[in-house]
Subunit: 256 residues, 2 copies
């Protein structure tokens, strides 16, 4: 899963399209040249507003977004497109490297964050990493149906079997997605933490239990006897789109 330097997924066919939004024309062009050299198809915008419009018009696989820009800063751009349902991965570029900014960037809906001045090679590596990561997301279905429930991952909206409507939070959606991706298979809590929270953060595993509870409450007809969100004691959880015949359990002494 590593050796790929700057190659792309052959299944994809076309070159990944990257939009560079930065008001420093000199820098933007420099980045662009290097991306092109790596085989990406690129486009450039020189302020936030222009970037926003381009994102609306075109379809990109990744947006590099400078934070400090005239007219409209990067955070605002990101928030705006997220509000419009655009899921394109966003990487922020900023002069400040403190955690404060980083958190704000991620909260605005960004996927990564790189402090200027950065090493060009690091930028390229991160770009490759993000595209790689987003692939699993992009390749998967954008909607999920099971047991009369319908979840739309584009809008984070869900309509439950009983007709109730639910707005999913980001974490809820991610967890659902991870489970659905491995439908039928057991997914450990650590797997989920990795996928949803990432390497650095390790919340208590109880947190995951809580999310499962909420999912069950919404999407299971009888939350106490789940048909889709199964617990595998001591291991993790298992999601099945189709209700499963609960295994015969009376094999112990009971008989006779």
């Amino acid at each position: 899963m590593t050796s790929e330097t700057s190659t792309f997924d052959p299944r994809r066919g076309t070159r990944p399209r990257v939009l560079v939004v930065d008001d420093e024309a000199h820098l933007a062009d420099g980045i662009r040249e290097n991306l092109e050299a790596e085989g990406y198809a690129t486009d450039v915008a020189h302020d936030g507003l222009e970037g926003l419009e381009k994102i609306r018009r075109e379809r990109y696989d990744l947006v590099l977004l400078d934070v400090m820009m005239p007219k409209m800063n990067g955070l605002e751009v990101c928030e705006a497109i997220r509000k419009e349902g655009v899921q394109t991965p966003v990487m922020f570029l900023t002069v400040k490297g403190d955690a404060e900014d980083r958190i704000r960037g991620l909260e605005a809906g960004g996927d990564d964050y790189l402090a200027k001045p950065f090493h060009l090679r690091e930028l390229l590596l991160r770009v490759a990493a993000i595209l790689r990561r987003s692939r699993w997301y992009a390749e998967s279905e954008s909607a999920l149906e099971f047991g009369g429930n319908r979840i739309d991952f584009e809008t984070y909206h869900a309509r439950a079997w009983d007709g109730t409507e639910h707005a999913l939070t980001h974490k809820e959606a991610m967890i659902l997605k991870v489970l659905a991706e491995h439908a039928g298979a057991i997914v450990t809590r650590e797997d989920i933490l990795d996928r949803v929270w990432g390497y650095e953060v390790f919340p208590s595993t109880r947190t995951i239990d809580n999310f499962i509870v909420r999912l069950r409450k919404r999407f299971e007809k009888n939350p106490e006897a789940p048909l889709h969100f199964h617990t595998v004691r001591g291991v993790g959880y298992r999601f099945t789109p189709e209700p499963e015949a609960q295994p015969d359990r009376a094999d112990d002494g009971a008989a006779r």
Copy 2:
């Protein structure tokens, strides 16, 4: 975090093999001990060249690679094995924490990077994370069939020869896996305890008998005359996917 089994994952099969390459013998041994305690099978090399040779000879699931080493540094080792097509995940260990080194590590084909001095806990977490990720792809055919039974280690579900469905517990699945891995060979109770329970816990061996009983009840047509889960008196058990004529002693013949 919970007790974290630290034993092996039946979905994976064998314990993950980790190679530690570091010229500081003291540190390498320390890491090794901790990895062993977590349930990994480990090996140690004390310089780059030795590490490279071991990687060529053996198959590892992960290599911890010190960057600064005599004879051949970690980056060179990583580049070398990547050039030879070895895909084994590599995690670099280095004293320097600057971006420069980190980039070079990633470019050399590394999967992760940890700066010394590191907190042991973080090392273990990252190791676990990397191995977990590589399992995503390496999902081996984790199903076992014998005598009309079908066991799916991915879901912990089993369909017995008579059509009944059974949900396996974690321990049940692990024991089954251990037996199946050594199909045809005798597995002592101590072997099973080591593999399934780990090196610290030692339940009574009767516990194992109990699990065997349950397995037989579910998967043997006639639990009293097992065709697959054989008892080897005074030693342990032996599993055979293909029904095997019990090696009855000749004189026993028709009697009984």
